[in-house]
């Protein structure tokens, strides 16, 4: 009897740790992109290193949580939904790390005229993530309060989408100094930054349906 209480406590702690890692990963992602745009190569490399380590740690914790859920039949009615939720949350840090790594490998040429737009896009995308993570955390303790944060996530997701569209329009219609391949390259980065906020939106939807399921 004591064992199951200990186990559930340790799983609860692991879930919190997992969210911490993703949270830190998002901060590193935001900082990393800003550092790349500002040309701070050393800081950018540090951000990339940190996010790589955080991503690995998050993966390990996520695997451990999944293992505990199946092994000890925790929350049998909702286990698959909760594990799916954690999987999607893990996608955020995975995508962020991949994106920073792509900046590092592909070294896109960002013209001065759109640097500010890129920074704004990253900021909006990160904000949607920064709002969805507390919602996911609060789901485990106060499911009723989840909907408050979800509205913010959906707002920032729309904002990200608008910024991304305007950035892409700028790239293709206003900046003549870039050749087509460079334009396509930049569009690809804008799209990937936007996709991080898409994942945040998916998490928000998953949380909404989970709250309904649990409250039923």
């Amino acid at each position: 009897m004591i064992n199951i209480f200990k186990r559930s406590k340790s799983v609860a702690i692991s879930i919190d740790e997992f969210f911490d890692k993703v949270d830190l990963g998002t901060l590193n992602f935001k900082k990393g992109v800003n550092n790349y745009i500002d040309g701070n190569a050393i800081e950018f490399a540090q951000n990339l290193n940190s996010i790589t380590v955080l991503e690995q740690e998050a993966d390990t914790i996520q695997r451990k949580i999944g293992n505990d859920f199946y092994l000890h039949s925790l929350m049998p009615n909702y286990s698959s939904d909760i594990l799916n939720l954690l999987e999607t949350v893990d996608d955020i840090i995975d995508m962020s790390k991949d994106l920073l790594s792509q900046f590092d490998v592909e070294n896109p040429n960002i013209p001065e005229a759109i640097k500010k737009d890129f920074i704004e896009l990253v900021s909006a995308s990160s904000k949607s993530v920064e709002n969805v993570l507390p919602a996911a955390r609060i789901f485990f303790t106060q499911p009723d309060n989840v909907k408050d944060s979800i509205q913010k996530v959906l707002f920032y997701h729309r904002e990200t989408h608008n910024l991304s569209t305007s950035l892409k329009r700028k790239i293709f219609q206003e900046i003549d100094s870039l050749i087509l391949s460079e334009k396509l390259h930049l569009r690809y980065f804008a799209l990937h930054i936007e996709q991080v906020s898409d994942v945040a939106k998916d998490i928000a939807h998953q949380l909404s349906s989970l709250v309904i399921k649990i409250k039923m």
């Binding site: 009615n77 485990f140 303790t141 649990i214």
Partner: protein, 598 residues
Amino acid sequence: MFLFFLTSGLFLGWTLGANDASNVFGSAVGSKMIKFKQAAIIASIFVILGAVFQGAGGSHTLGKLGSVDALGGAFTVALAAGIAVFWMTKLKLPVSTSQAVVGAIIGWNFFTNNPTDMSSLTKIVTTWISGPILGGIFAILLFQLLQYTLKKSRIHLIKLDAYIKYALLIVGAFGSYSLGANNIANVVGVFIPSAPDILLDFGFFTMDGTQLLFLAGGISIAVGIMTYSKKVMMTVGNSLMKLNAETAIVVVLAHSLVLFVFSSQNLSDFFVSLGLPAIPLVPVSSSQAIVGAILGIGIIKGGRNIQLNVIGKIAIGWVITPVIAGLISFFALFFMSNLFNLQVSQNPSKFVKGDIFVEDSKNSEIDSKTKVIDPFEFDRSEPTIIELYKPAVIIALVILMIIVFYQFYTILRLREKDKLDEEEDHFIKYNAQQVLLENELKLSNSAKAELEKEIEFKEKEQKKIALSIIRKNEILSKLKAEIEQIKSKPEKSLKFSDLNTLKVLILDNLNLEKERKSLDIYIKELNNTFFQNLERKYPGLTNNEKKLCSLLRLKLSSKEIASILNITPKSVEVNRYRLRKKMNIKKEEKLSKIIRKL
């Protein structure tokens, strides 16, 4: 004979266990929060405890409704109720054992022309209505309380899951206890007037005939839970409304409280002491209590999830069950008394014999006094006291010893099994290692064989080249001798054929240099390790000395070596002597042997 007649009651107990355990543990097992085995063990133990320690209250009221005073009658009434429950379950109609038993007793009253105690009947029917209502009220209050507590406490969902698991077990245990306490009257209530008049004295506690009857009934319910309830739990589970774990706790707790309230003598006495009316101790339907509780939750949630057609079906079942059970009981009693001449009543004033109502005038006076018989107010004679203290202690000791021996045997067997498993593991590991080593050995052997073959081939090649050099040197010597011979001839006697002979000899010699070079390469290639060892052991040897060593290693004679190196055999001997000195080889040791060992 008593035990034979009791079988119908036990059958009823079995159907009750099979059907009603799902009310207590259905949601928990159906949602996989608790394993069936765990639920069945807990339910069985607590049903028996509830039946033995708190089963009297409900039986009291049931006895007042109609005291089935003959064993044959009790058998038929229980059988009729059992058949009604079983038949309606088969038809997938909601059925309550309590209603079936009440219907069957009324059927017996009709058949034996005993009057039905209307106040008891009213009491019982009132609880059929008040039970579900009370269940609903309890559910609403408990649900609100739980929601408030959960909101305030902010427990992590994972931790809450663990708490709920154990709460379901505890609430289930309480529910099983209440089920046993309240519903045991349905199972063996009609047999109480015929219960054996004995008192078993176990030293620490005593058990009278009624309690023994309750124990038997409790065991039959437990058997029903163990053997048939899993199917019901898995299929019936949440047919009325989809329940989550928290709601399931509330529903089961509300249902348990209803059953407990209607079976607890102490609570009733407490109410009386407060100046309130006594609580009627009546067997209520556990299914109805559950339905009431679920409806209560449904009302609080806005009634969205309630399946009205299921409720309608249940309501129809409430009306049909007692009617069907009463009819079955009436006709069964008719057949039992007329076909098998079974005594179905002790004091019949009037009972159906064939199609004629027989008036028993002699008994009419007695009957008027005994028409309402309370089994607990029977003027029983002093019970036969059976001292079971010593046998109980001996049996307990024997059981304890058997358990200890069994445990000991199990531990030994487990150890033996572990040992065998370990040995088997070791065996498998060793076998695997052996196979691995054999494979490695085979591989290294085949590699060695290949290398040996290669060495042999290269040695042959070397020898071939060496021999070819020797042969060509011989040719050169011949050429030299031939030229000498030609030179010694007078100029006039010189012939063209002499020059041709020379040309042939020269052509044979043309490839000599090339072959010498390839010999050097072969020697180096083949003797790579040999040269390394030689250098390590005898540093300071010149290249020519090393070459001599490698040729000695090929077991070539001094003459052959001289031919290869294009020096005289004497020079080879001198070189060998110098080499021996340089390598500090004693007189008794052979140079070629030492070189081959390297």
